[in-house]
């Protein structure tokens, strides 16, 4: 029997990419701006979402998809307590959300009534970077106590970002975090990246971020 070579040249995650494109189309049709929110565990993803809800409501309606590896509703409960619709997705131990899981989550949100969808990814700096969810932007929450070397150690996640939030800046006087070294690493991977230093604890730094976010929601509404 003879062996022949068949050219393939197909991305290994092409099925995910196709589903992500469908999600993006669906979000666009509903004029909803969407964020894939990534971070390591404990960086402040849920705290950031709560801050944004607090500062955008009641003028804006926000839907949240919460990804977790365990069947818990701790995060989703915090969102629904704020009067916003939330869907909890259990990845069954998987280390990241994928576009198919997000599609299921979108099914359960009243998309036509929303201005913004935030997808809280599984706390992890490695795997979520490889899976497009179909959102408009990828946002990473870095936090000061994690250390200033993270861009150097997790370059992939920093390369694919549109926005970086540096959380817990109120702890800068107490921890050994060299902001210049951190930002140099970010600049090497993602020159000119939009960055908002904030503290979800004290509330500092949010004015600029909220201004930017309202602009994004507005241009998505007008279909630009």
């Amino acid at each position: 029997m003879s062996t022949i070579k068949v050219p393939v040249v197909e991305k290994i995650l092409s099925a995910n990419d196709r589903m992500a494109a469908i999600n993006r189309k669906r979000l666009n049709e509903n004029h909803v701006f969407s964020i894939n929110l990534m971070a390591s565990p404990g960086a402040g993803k849920t705290s950031l979402i709560l801050q944004l809800i607090q500062r955008l409501s009641p003028g804006y309606k926000i839907g949240v998809i919460e990804g977790d590896t365990a069947p818990v509703t701790i995060d989703a409960d915090k969102i629904t307590a704020q009067g916003m619709p939330a869907v909890q997705i259990n990845t069954g131990g998987d280390c990241h959300l994928d576009a198919a899981m997000v599609s299921d989550g979108l099914d359960q949100l009243p998309l036509s009534q929303l201005d913004l969808v935030i997808i809280e990814n599984v706390g992890n700096l490695i795997c979520p970077a490889a899976w497009d969810l179909g959102t408009h932007i990828n946002l990473l929450v870095a936090s000061v106590p994690e250390g200033d070397d993270k861009p150097y150690k997790y370059p992939n996640i920093y390369r694919g970002l549109s926005v970086l939030v540096i959380n817990k800046v109120d702890l800068l006087p107490y921890v050994n975090f060299d902001m210049a070294y951190f930002r140099r690493g970010v600049e090497l991977l993602n020159p000119g990246l939009i960055t908002f230093p904030v503290s979800c604890h004290t509330g500092e730094g949010f004015a600029a971020m909220i201004h930017w976010l309202k602009e994004q929601i507005k241009s998505q509404k007008s279909g630009e």
């Binding site: 068949v6 393939v8 197909e10 290994i12 092409s14 370059p155 600049e187 020159p191």
Partner: protein, 121 residues
């Protein structure tokens, strides 16, 4: 990172192309993986033997081609390799760099054995 789901994706793509080509059996799968794609070859191979079982891909060899990470410096227009750690351009010290190779993650080709049609032994 998530080698099981990656391996299942590899199988599904290989089976699709093999079926189209009317393969009786797939013998080799050529994968191109950039240095920055955090995939562990041994883990993929480990899962492969399990997921490919009882399919026409059973026993197929996985061949990994690794692509080194290469950056282009926007300041001085030179290209350089990333060795072990993230750094500025080794020629001019510039930090405006762009990745030009190293994040590949695809199946390049498969090698198959065709069904023998109408041939009498």
């Amino acid at each position: 990172m998530h080698e099981l789901s990656v391996t299942e994706n590899i199988l599904s793509i290989a089976l699709e192309h093999a079926t189209q080509a009317e393969a009786a059996r797939v013998t080799v799968i050529h994968l191109v993986i950039g240095q920055l794609s955090s995939i562990v070859d041994d883990s993929v191979q480990f899962y492969w033997d399990m997921v490919a079982e009882s399919t026409i891909c059973e026993g197929a060899k996985l061949h990994f081609s690794r692509v080194a990470a290469m950056f282009h410096c926007e300041d001085c227009a030179s290209d350089f390799n990333m060795d072990s750690r993230l750094s500025e351009c080794p020629y001019c010290g510039g930090i405006h760099t762009r990745l030009i190779a190293g994040d590949e993650f695809y199946i390049d080709s498969i090698e198959i054995e065709k069904k023998e049609v109408g041939v009498k032994q």
